[in-house]
């Protein structure tokens, strides 16, 4: 199994499935880490997805970059972090038309962030697909200071902006592409429960 099965308990959380090609429609393909393999699998199933496609890849220590670069896309952008290629991604979204399809693959954090950017650029939710691959790191928004913390794998965690200790609430906003983090020791300042790995 390459695709992750998530707990169905959180009804605000998006569900992910295997990317489906829409052939030669204009396409924006974004992936991080082992999501790169999901793009390669998609291209193997239908190479025409790259006819008018641009790839944005966040390497995250993986080796898929070389293959993706050679895959035949109209444009290829690569970065170590999503923020490094965010401006190019936003520029591509700004040029998107009604026919443009968005393919996202990799961590839930990347899919969430890239979805939020696409929605903010006016892309219809129905034109966006996500395939989850790799770890279960979450992108979290601190409900207190509104700052985003990427790649959260523990509960509780420390807000990278305001420093409050936050617990990971099982509530997800598609608009923000993030889960909600809420102060864990509000009632008893300083009494922070033991850190645990986030479960699916």
């Amino acid at each position: 199994m390459t695709q992750t099965q998530f707990s169905p308990s959180i009804t605000s959380r998006p569900t992910y499935s295997q990317l489906q090609s829409h052939g030669g429609s204009p396409a924006i393909l974004v992936a991080d880490g082992s999501g790169g393999q999901a793009l390669l699998d998609l291209i193997a199933r239908d190479a025409s997805v790259l006819d008018r496609g641009q790839i944005f890849f966040v390497t995250a220590g993986t080796e898929f970059g070389a293959q993706l670069r050679e895959a035949g896309a109209k444009a290829y952008h690569q970065g170590l972090f999503f923020n490094e290629i965010l401006t190019q991604y936003q520029a591509a979204l700004a040029q998107a038309t009604m026919a443009t399809r968005i393919y996202l693959a990799g961590s839930e954090g990347l899919i969430g962030h890239a979805t939020a950017e696409a929605l903010a650029a006016g892309i219809d939710a129905g034109s966006i697909q996500g395939e989850h691959r790799g770890g279960i790191a979450r992108r979290m928004q601190c409900v207190h200071c509104k700052g985003m913390t990427d790649d959260v794998t523990t509960d509780p965690f420390t807000c990278s902006h305001c420093g409050l200790n936050l617990f990971v609430r099982d509530h997800f906003s598609r608009r923000l592409g993030a889960f909600q983090g809420v102060c864990v020791d509000a009632e008893t300042p300083g009494e922070v429960p033991e850190t645990q790995e986030i479960k699916l």
């Binding site: 959180i10 009804t11 605000s12 959380r13 928004q141 409900v143 207190h144 509104k146 409050l164 609430r169 099982d170 509530h171 997800f172 906003s173 598609r174 608009r175 923000l176 909600q180 809420v182 102060c183 509000a186 009632e187 008893t188 300042p189």
Partner: protein, 350 residues
């Protein structure tokens, strides 16, 4: 009937109080001795005289002070009021609904003079006398939704109806039971209810959504919801949880009767005429255990409901910690006698 408006606060020194009349008309949410989630929706076209169920948008002794508290909250966090661009027409619908309803229910407090789109609105309790052009936002100091909800008690969610669901695309939310408009804005009915336990499996939301999508103009509905709050605080937002959370630990067996409040939400549902949006006012009422148990029926019943409430609900509502103290305090009012059906104070009234 004239209302004497309290001069009171809902933060810091918490000088909020309920007069004996306010206690008698409190919307007690339990019509029997136990509680579980249900699709508890009824028509909002009438109710016993003097109760909050008898008017469209209840105005009570807390009005002026609550509006002052709202202004403070909004000043500190402007994101409590948001409206996505396509919701402006719904804002005008809401403004019209609230103005015409307040004038009909409280002609001595509010006036609306209309000459085509040239409107003059007089709000005597708040000392407002504004002339503006209906449907022209440039003639108001705020957007239409913000303008009118700064003059109406409670929270307001304004829902766009499309693609088989309701979407939280606008709202004014300053006295919420621990949820964030800024986080929820843009979500649909299923998404924003995600954190609620049990109700999804009970298929409550499925049935409630179906009902709401069919609410017709001129036929509003209502339901009651409730939780527990320490101190008479309107702004129990997740944003400020680190500020009010510590207050939960200040409850003792000696002060629980005064400090522990039952927080009741009178929620109503209104179809709006031009936008086809749904307005969802959430009016918050606060009364402490001591005041509530001055009504014998309520003291007995509250004891039984809180004692027997499923743990998951007490957890979700955030009062697991203080529940034993609350139950212990309330037990003194429960002599084991039977209680009559219905929510109203008198034993023979249902």
């Amino acid at each position: 009937m004239t209302i004497r408006f309290n001069d009171e606060t809902f933060r810091d020194d918490y000088t909020h109080f309920n007069s004996p009349e306010a206690i008698q008309r409190f919307p007690f949410p339990f019509d029997r001795d136990d509680y579980m989630y249900s699709v508890n929706i009824e028509s909002h076209t009438s109710g016993p005289k003097g109760t909050p169920f008898d008017v469209a948008f209840d105005v009570d002794e807390h009005y002026v002070s609550e509006m002052r508290d709202l202004a403070i909250t909004l000043e500190q966090d402007p994101k409590r009021c948001q409206s996505l661009p396509h919701m402006e027409l719904a804002g005008w619908d809401l403004l019209e609904l609230i103005m015409t309803s307040k004038v009909a229910d409280y002609p001595d407090l509010f006036e609306l003079h209309r000459d085509g789109n040239a409107w003059r609105w007089v709000n005597k309790p708040l000392g407002i006398d504004d002339s503006f052009t209906f449907l022209d936002a440039s003639t108001l100091p705020y957007g239409p939704m913000e303008y009118i909800t700064r003059q109406a008690q409670g929270d307001f969610a304004v829902l766009d109806q499309r693609d088989g669901s309701l979407w939280m695309d606008a709202g004014m939310v300053t006295c919420q039971a621990d949820w964030s408009l800024d986080f929820n804005i843009g979500m649909n009915f299923t998404e924003w209810h995600a954190p609620v336990p049990k109700a999804h499996e009970m298929r409550i939301f499925e049935r409630a959504l179906k009902f709401l999508m069919n609410v017709q103009q001129g036929a509003p509905s209502r339901r009651l919801n409730w939780t527990m709050t320490v101190n008479p605080r309107l702004d129990t937002s997740p944003e400020n949880y680190h500020l009010w959370g510590p207050e939960k630990r200040t409850v003792t067996p000696e002060n629980v009767g005064q400090k522990q409040y039952l927080r009741v939400e009178l929620q109503t549902f209104w179809r709006l005429p031009r936008s086809n949006a749904l307005a969802f006012p959430i009016r918050c009422y606060l009364a402490n255990l001591q005041d509530l148990s001055s009504v014998p029926k309520w003291g007995r019943r509250l004891h039984r409901v809180i004692r027997d409430l499923p743990d998951e609900l007490a957890d979700y509502k955030g009062f697991t910690l203080n529940r034993p103290m609350i139950v212990e305090y309330l037990s003194q009012f429960d002599d084991g006698a039977e209680t009559s059906l219905g929510i109203y104070p008198a034993e023979d009234q249902s």
